[in-house]
Symmetry: C2
Subunit: 195 residues, 2 copies
């Protein structure tokens, strides 16, 4: 373990961090518990002291990041009253988090199908809780007369646009991140504003 940024973290956080990196690079199913032990610098026994299973680590990553997105989103709804401003902040925060925690968000958006049934339901509920903030802003904008009626398919398309950026967004490129957030917000507005 030579990555000094990892030495500040608790063992559990370190496991989640190295697991997200490995899952993002190779895909969840290709990473074994031994790979996690090696990357975290822990014996198998020590690893299992902190985690129940490999799927448990995947769940921790996805639930932690999707719930962080949910917390941020609810704060946005509280702090901004204008639905357009809410959408701008929701989109900016989403791109920003994808860029800053690219491995974790890659895992969140790409590995949903890797969960077994019960855990998948739980994780999809975190996604739904996050996405409900977008639904709220879109419906509020329609109620105020400025947005078109809410469409679930339209929202799926717009969120897919943000989510897929995990493939190409570059962390540490603030200008790219800002331009992406601005351009995507413009697409969102054009798609939802009433004529």
């Amino acid at each position: 373990m030579t990555d000094t940024s990892l030495t500040q973290l608790s063992s559990k956080e370190r496991i989640a961090k190295v697991a997200a990196k490995l899952f993002a690079e190779r895909g969840y199913h290709a990473v074994g518990v031994n790979d996690l032990c090696e990357a975290a610098g822990l014996s198998r026994g020590a690893l299992y002291h902190h985690i129940q299973s490999k799927e448990h680590v995947l769940e921790e990553i996805c639930s932690s990041y999707m719930s962080q997105l949910g917390v941020l989103a609810r704060r946005t709804l509280e702090q901004e009253s204008d639905p357009q401003a809410q959408l701008r902040k929701l989109g900016f925060d989403l791109i920003d988090i994808i860029a800053r925690h690219k491995a974790e968000l890659t895992v969140c958006f790409r590995e949903i199908q890797s969960f077994t049934a019960e855990r998948r339901e739980k994780i999809l509920a975190f996604h739904a809780a996050y996405e409900s903030a977008w639904v709220h802003a879109l419906k509020a904008g329609h109620a105020a007369g400025s947005f078109r009626p809410y469409s679930k398919t339209r929202l799926k398309g717009l969120l897919g646009m943000y989510y897929y950026s995990y493939i190409w967004i570059r962390p540490n490129h603030p200008e790219m991140i800002r331009e992406t957030a601005d351009t995507f917000h413009d697409i969102v507005l054009q798609a939802v504003l009433a004529n």
Copy 2:
């Protein structure tokens, strides 16, 4: 091998088909050559008679489907002269192919990073060739005065919206496919039409 639809295919096509399904389900790195042998009903020797390596199969899948998309897209540019009609047909065909060949397109859009450097360049060139049809339609619409100036980031967002649908689109749901294509086309038009 009990899937009778596979018995009509050549061995090479059968390998590509079962490989795409396994890669889509588990992720490329989690599938071994032995898994491919078992799913294709071939011995290791017979498998290597048809393929050079596992990465070669991934390359065949990605190059075949991205070049099919490219052929369809160039035909669209030839057959439709109006840029709006070109965008409608490009988007419809994209959703249609994702829905009808979901495993293969999941692999195309999700496993780009799984290639080693040289092959990745080759596959990215297929992606770029396909995407150039969209660039062409967008620039033609701007030249004709009906579209806003071309923006690379905007196109990346709009294509990401289509690509990410591999996660949730359901094959054999023609109504869902049609509604998705219509809604996405509407988002594209709102994003690119000049005011």
